[in-house]
């Protein structure tokens, strides 16, 4: 497949750009943060996104979706990354939706997936238990059809209607569906450094509603779903770094010191030019990886790790250089460039950081 957007994807990208710029600029994120928003995201924006079909974009028409493909969804993510717009798109649509669509029963698709696709329900995956990304292990367990355990860093956990929870079984990892309103569920909301939300969720003998797949399917399911999530998150991170870079370049042109634009200093020019090249690398990896999801490529895992590693590394570089090049003003909360720094660090750790994916890539390539 050619490494360019189709006309439809380009149109979607353009409308996403307009939408986020118009409805959810960084000022909105600041507002959500300063007003300590209960949801942690703008619910009006979210329902608009659902109205436009973006919550169901990648799912089959049978469940209310548009069957448009991840390469298209990726463009929405890139644009939402530019405005740093928080929404349950990642947690509910991309992770949970993808999981149910690929591994859920017909019943689960008709109810849960349809509700996700319509933006009516928020479903989130609860799987991390330690401080580092360990998607294949769980101490949480099920006995007598009741689940117990504690999950960390559950994205949008405090607003979720339903949890998908990993637990160990005799056959390996299992994934269980749990109603957030069930007794025995306790949710502690945390505001993260990027002003988004993640929760620590404790399950104490909570009745299980159903499973996704069978006991022991969990590892395989997690690998596939998280690879999709890693690529989609990389798309969002790409948008953020493109925007942070553009803002930095504009600042270099505007800001004068010693009587000239600081952008005329060769020391900064060479660093800027190098960053430009690295961002181009990220663009290619992201596009190729998004297409690989739609093509159901055998290379998905390799591409996901390559992309998440490289994009995570460059997101750090670009956000650090952004602050340094903005200088003192960049350190203030009033200036928006700092929001990109904070978001980059959270995104970089989500679904496996640079270190994790470098190691995983080498393991996938058998060295």
């Amino acid at each position: 497949m050619a490494l360019v957007l189709t006309e439809e994807q380009q149109m979607l990208k353009t409308s996403a750009k307009e939408f986020f710029n118009g409805n959810a600029p960084i000022a909105s994120l600041r507002d959500l943060r300063d007003k300590k928003s209960e949801a942690g995201y703008d619910q009006l924006v979210w329902s608009e996104m659902a109205n436009m079909g973006w919550t169901g974009l990648v799912f089959p028409e049978a469940y209310g979706g548009l069957d448009f493909g991840y390469a298209g969804l990726g463009q929405i993510l890139i644009e939402s990354g530019k405005t740093l717009t928080p929404s349950p798109l990642m947690s509910s649509v991309i992770v949970s939706g993808t999981m149910i669509n690929a591994y859920g029963s017909e019943e689960q698709k008709k109810t849960l997936l349809a509700a996700i696709a319509a933006g009516e329900k928020i479903v989130t995956l609860a799987y991390e238990e330690s401080n580092a990304h360990r998607p294949h292990t769980a101490e949480a367990s099920v006995s007598n059809n009741q689940l117990s355990g504690t999950k960390k860093i559950v994205l949008d956990g405090h607003v979720a209607d339903t949890f998908l929870v990993t637990a160990r079984t005799e056959k390996g990892l299992g994934i269980y569906v749990i109603d957030a309103a069930a007794s025995g569920v306790s949710v502690e909301r945390h505001t993260m450094m990027d002003s988004r939300n993640a929760a620590t969720v404790t399950f104490s003998d909570v009745p299980v509603l159903a499973m996704i797949g069978l006991p022991g399917d969990g590892e395989k399911i997690m690998d596939h779903v998280l690879d999709v999530a890693r690529i989609c998150l990389s798309a969002e991170m790409l948008g953020s770094m493109e925007e942070a870079f553009e803002r930095t370049m504009n600042y270099l042109k505007e800001r004068k010191q010693f009587g000239v634009s600081i952008g005329s200093f060769q020391g900064l020019q060479h660093r800027a030019a190098h960053m430009f090249c690295e961002i181009e690398m990220c663009k290619s990896l992201v596009l190729k990886s998004l297409q690989a999801i739609d093509a159901e490529s055998d290379e998905l895992a390799t591409l996901a790790s390559m992309t998440k590693a490289k994009v995570g590394e460059i997101a750090k570089l670009v956000s650090n250089e952004g602050i340094q090049m903005f200088g003192g003003i960049g350190m203030t909360d009033d200036e928006e460039i700092g929001f990109f720094l904070k978001r980059a660090r959270v995104a970089q750790l989500t679904y496996g950081d640079y270190n994790y994916h470098i190691d995983r890539y080498a393991a996938l390539k058998s060295f």
């Binding site: 401080n131 993260m192 450094m193 993640a198 009587g259």
Partner: protein, 395 residues
Amino acid sequence: MSTATQPNIDAFRTETRAWLEEHCPESMRTPVKGFDDYFWGGRQPKFKDEDQKLWFENMKSKGWTVPRWPKEYGGGGLSKAEYKVLKEEMESLGCRTPLFSFGIHMLGPALLNFGTEEQKKEHLTQIANGEIWWCQGYSEPGAGSDLAGLQTSAEDKGDHYLVNGQKVWTSYADYADKIFCLVRTDKNAPKHTGISFLLIDMKAEGVTTRPIKLLSGSSPFCETFFDNVKVPKENLVGTENEGWTIAKYLLTHERSMIGNVAKMDKTLDKYAVDAIGKVNGKLADPVNRVETAKWLIDEAAFNLTLERALDEAKAGSPPGAKSSFFKYYGTELNKRRYELMMSTGGFDNLIWGENAEEGKTPREFCRTKANSIEGGTSEVQLNIIAKHILGLPKS
């Protein structure tokens, strides 16, 4: 100043230790923990407790808030050798510094070198006695690395200057009683030659401040605005239009104070082992293991280099532009440390919460990003090294 012979110094040490033992309350011999534990002085001095007050008063009575300053300005009049003894004895007992003040370290040296006798009498004594809380007004929004590009103007109105403009990064301006400022007194002169050094009362009409919130949360920094502020002529320090000489003197003084990499409670390898754990005796994250090792080696090399520079200075080699080198390398090293801690600490370090206690590491991480900006950016330090150490031509 007195010159001390060795027997005198030994006697001074005995006396000093006895005096400190007697006059420093037990609670003033414990490490300071937060902002509260520092006494800053000022028109409305705030003591945390009676011990803090007592300790300050005791030290003030000896002139030891500023041990090296002459006695006539409220100082201790100590010789270099005596001062060294005092520092050693205070350190050995763990005595806290009785008074914190930008007046002592930043304004004082300027007044001692460039002030009139009247200015010294008035201001140095007030600083020594902790009566005035001074803040510094150098930076401006439009003049960052190009400090001499400052625009705050002081117009000569006969008996006073009329000051208009804005300063930024004025630490604790919202607490301070007075500010020492660089202002432009000649708009037509080349930029380094039209600058003067002025003292301004923060209570004067037309002075307002606004605290600055940083990425990391609230900060001691403020913006300070001057709107037609009248400043008496006698508040000029040094010669009109020659303030840049004073500024340069103070900046050199300041730069050599920064660049040390702070010691942490936990070494980075312990931090990593605690956060990540080991597999087969090795840190479980192989990438982190390499980065941690690299950082520790660089930290050790940096500390050895500081030690070497000190030893070289003792042996008579001048420090020269080395302060730029320590500033550059030290701040970049500190940024790298926090970048690594964010990677090592994992999910827990993502939690920001509502107060600085909860999100300590990520807030500190954000704050370190300023290390390579404040006090002269890394780029400025590299320029200085290239030109003044390596002798490369001006670009």
